[in-house]
Amino acid sequence: MNRYIPVTDEDRRRMLGVVGAASVDDLFSGIPVQVRQKKASDLPKALSEPEMLRDLRGLSGKNLNADNAPCFLGAGVYDHFIPSAVDSIVSRGEFTTSYTPYQPEVAQGTLQAIFQYQTMVCELTGMEISNASMYDGASAAAEAAVLAASSTKKRTVLCGRNVHPQTRQTVRTYCWSRKLDYAEIPAEDGRIDRAALGKALEGGDAAALIVQSPNFFGGLENLQELGDAVHEAKGLFIVSSDLLALGTLEAPGKLGADIVVGDGQTAGNPMNFGGPAFGFIAVNKPLMRKMPGRICGQTTDGQGRRTFVLTLQAREQHIRREKATSNICSNQNLCIVAASVYLSLMGPRGLRDIGDQILAKSAYAVEQLEKTGKFRRAFPGVPSFRETALLCDEAPAELNKRLLGAGIVGGFDLSGDYPELKNGWLLAVTESRTKEEIDRMVAVAGGDAR
């Protein structure tokens, strides 16, 4: 008898009587004898709620969390502040324990939230149409590449080498499975190498170019210029970014992007060891009917009242089956509700204030590190947002070990993914980092507080 099942032994007897079965086992008689499970599964014994919580506290206590150790690690996931109201809203059972809004009359809450989210993504990206979200930024980029191939009827996907390594790996996996060719454009001084891009675009085989801005090194790409080059070669321009950064940076839609994708974790979602958060994807009208995933639209009911529904479903798997645009049939809904609450609390001014603090704190941290004489910018002169690639005097692994000893989570060691950046170290500074934390980090990193 467990606490999640409101059926007593007496109920069971009565119900079996109605069904006309002698025992519960009778109900499983349709399972062929040869495949019936002979002995109980070998699992740890059941835990009461107090025991369960003790086990969980034991496990979670073994992890160093950002409440106890200031985090200068980014590389795709960032420690931004989340106002209390966000979790208060997404904890409501009406959002948490409902299903996909297939019955719109009893799901207007979720549907209107999606519609509003779509609007906010359009505003931030400068695009005309957003869907209801994707699994994450990496798979959103991969789906965008597939969309571009199907739309241009070309089979080569180009991706900047300064795009997040995990995004590149995911795009590569999807390309392999879709029989698309995948090639990378090297970076020059941290940004897409224009000459190499020009060469790759010769011949006009490219379905798309994927760039990221801020790129993996935090650097800002000259999007307009890159977009023009891709368009000239009749390919689509896919830009990856993140929602919080777009409160400060120019909207990619104004700079020639055909598809904008990215991660939304930065807007109101905890780091969660990498998930769940969500990916976003936005396009302009010509690609609307090829867009993967759910889309919510506005219409009216029989009495003329404003009503929201899932729409353009002719693209989707439950109608189109093997001819569907994509097989995705969910969205990261609760995470976009969190993002909508966050963006509503922040408004345009809040995002801009956060952006200004990030710029100021990043500039301060980098300047202080440079002053130690042991760090220099890997790409001086390239403007960056939230993250800066630095070159250190020592191996980043050693540096991070010292920082960890002082209770600080250091930056990302670039030397694995980019061996050419010897002792490359990617420092993330969000608005959550205080001057005191930055000073302490600099003291340890500079060697004064060994």
Binding site: V35, I129, T170, M288, L345, G350
Partner: protein, 491 residues
Amino acid sequence: MKRTMDTLFETSRPGRVGYALPELDVPAVDCGEELKGFCRSEAPRLPELAEVDVVRHFTGLSKMNYSVDEGFYPLGSCTMKYNPKVNEVAARMPGFSRIHPLQPEGTVQGALKLMYDLSAMLAEITGMDAVTLQPAAGAHGEQTGLMMIKAYHESRGDHKRTKVIVPDSAHGTNPASAAVTGFDTVEVASDAEGMVDLDALKALMDDSVAALMLTNPNTLGVFERNILALTETIHAAGGLVYYDGANANAIMGKARPGDMGFDVLHLNLHKTFSTPHGGGGPGAGAVGVKNVLVPFLPTPVIGLADGAYRLEHADMHPQSIGRVRSFFGNFGVLVRAYTYIRTLGAEGLQEVSETAVLNANYLAKKLEHIYPLAHKGYCMHEFVLNGGALKHETGVSSLDVAKALIDAGYHPPTVYFPLIVPEALMVEPTETESQETLDRFAAAMEEIIAKAKAEGAEPFHDMPLTTPVSRPDETTAARNPILRWQFGDGE
């Protein structure tokens, strides 16, 4: 009283804010100077609201949703069981929610252990050899499983295998997942009970068969009678067999896909393992494999060596299909599933499946005098009602019945799926409902059918009447799409 609500954009008033940042404690910099023209030229038109405005808005929205916390949600194939509250507390512990995925392995041993243990428990429950937790959803799991099948055949130099066989009763994601992994889908017929036609399957066998995808219990809620013959047929032809775990809530402790001959499966942790659906996600689509497919699992693989948990990358798994997303999966969802399994243990999970099956058979029995059932004998955890006769006699469609159920205070069953049953209504009560709830639901169905027979379709057309809006004009929504708020002049 539930009613429609203004959008955030109509509620917005210039100058309101819902946040407070600490005073800047380092020298300010000028955005224009720092970013040299990369700054935004125009502010995004996000709402401007105080915290109370935002909270009231979203609280209002939430009240327009029906949810499991509110009541019975017998949505077939979706397993809308109760979502335990301790799972939510678990996922929010700072040691789980406030950790960065790229932290040194030594600082996240608890998180890695949780994933390692969850994988092992899921492997034991399903009879598979290894489990990856990376896929973000069921469909993502299908795609991952099929990619591994593709990599397996390619690794053997066997490039002819382009066909994936899918029964006509399958979920739409099956053929879509096959297509997105570069396979051609071939449909195989099923009989009136939804069982795969073995002879039809045999006729499809040749050296181009890559895999068969099968949902078992099938979408009519019946266990495949010939399951071993089906998997043997595919294996004999050199193909692999994929198990769609959408219906795994029926078989825990009773039968294991690994013992039925399946080579790869996905589990929807948001169905069987009680993690909340969140209005459409996030879920998690764990994928289990037999030894033949272990080399192809996505990286990173979570390993255990010398008492420490570690992340193993492509250098240790050269045949891996690579990544299907960033980091390790929807970790917060995994924490919830771990908590559920540890809370119930083996006996508790078996009780889950037994009660789910009992509840389904009980409710089917209560309804069979008013509705023809698509299955014969006992069903597993769900069943399908055939609404064809009712439609023919009274003009009342299954959609009408669904809308009437909304007015009666229930979430309707899944309608028009599976495609092989006319006017299908697919009912999955789950184990977390009491006999009284099932009785009340059956009574509500009886009343609806009586009304249909007495009054015909006419009174149904305006239903539902108790909701903030009634049936939407979906045709206009698709023909003239309005997909974002339209700002008027001066906004």
